[in-house]
Amino acid sequence: MVTGMKLSKDLVAASAAPLVLSILEEGDSYGYAILRRVRALSDGRWTWTDGMLYPVLHRLEQQGYVGACWRESEAGRRRKYYSLLPAGRAALREQKEQWSLVQATLAKLWGAAHGGLGTAH
């Protein structure tokens, strides 16, 4: 799914849902805009194989985490907009806690490693 930055396939699979849900927490959006947002947030370093976002969105829709409806853009183009549903908000809360724990644990380990190096010098 990732072609720009070499994130492992497993990590991409695990982070896709919280990433999309977090973007939808900011407001309703559609696939192309979600991808643009991901690129902007990662300064263009995190790029997806664009089409693979849609199966992720459809899976979230099936799980009842996001709702979807077709709307017409100002340019008259039909776009499928996704919105975060209460179940998705609850799932995102849980995901945030889990990712925060992972991040805090790794930060402590890596922080300690840097500290250790500092002491050695």
Binding site: D50, Y54, H58, Q62, Q63
Partner: protein
Amino acid sequence: MADLERLIEAWRRSLAAFGVGPDELAELESHLRDDVDRLRREGISDERALEQATARLGPPQALAAEFARTAAPARWLPLPVTAGALGVLALLLAGVLLDRLLTGRVSVLLAAHLLTVTVGYSTTLAVGVLAAAYVLRRTQGDLSPGQTHGLARGLAVLNGAAGALTAIGFVLGGVWAQEHLGRFWTWDPREIGAVCVLAWDVLLCVLILRRLCADSLAVLLGLAGSALTYLAWFGAVSLSAGTYGRGSVAAAHTVVLLVHVVFFCAGLVQARRLARGATA
């Protein structure tokens, strides 16, 4: 421009050939056109822009395979079976009532009232049976999130249908009462029961469709509707007939309600255990 349209059409056909559905195709095409527009604004030629945009979307075969993996999971079988059984019940009852109607044993109003209320109540009871079956099924392992979501939505449809039938039956019953008893509403336990069932049907439908509670809890709540309908139907009939206080009748009602409570509590405990297992 005409060339671009021709190329997009060819791209669509290549995806469709791999089995990508029309809804997915429309969404991917919308994405493709957004990307092509952006690239063209950057001064890239139509053909080159399309080439870059389609490459970024990914190879058709890989996309089709990924969409196939997210295809809706198989429905949990008891749901369509129950819906089919309710349809058969409705047809059988309609046949019996039609026979009585043709032989002058029942009026059109009463026949329609009996048909709608019986099928409506049976549907709400069936939702409870499905909830109990769901609890039993989960003892063998949880359904997939997609299956649970499909089940919850299915129950919302059944509850919606039950609510509509109960509402029609209630009004028809009221009109019949108006004609024969002189009043639309007589404070009969059966009337009060019908209003409670109707309110419950609408409430559960809203809870599920607006996603105000988790799918698994929504399914379990079907047991509450079933218990309420049992009371509104058989309990109210016993009350109206003055048999509610009789030992055997009271015992039967208590047993049925207890079974509901046991399944509901077991379902809640089971949900906590499964949730702990999932996060362990």
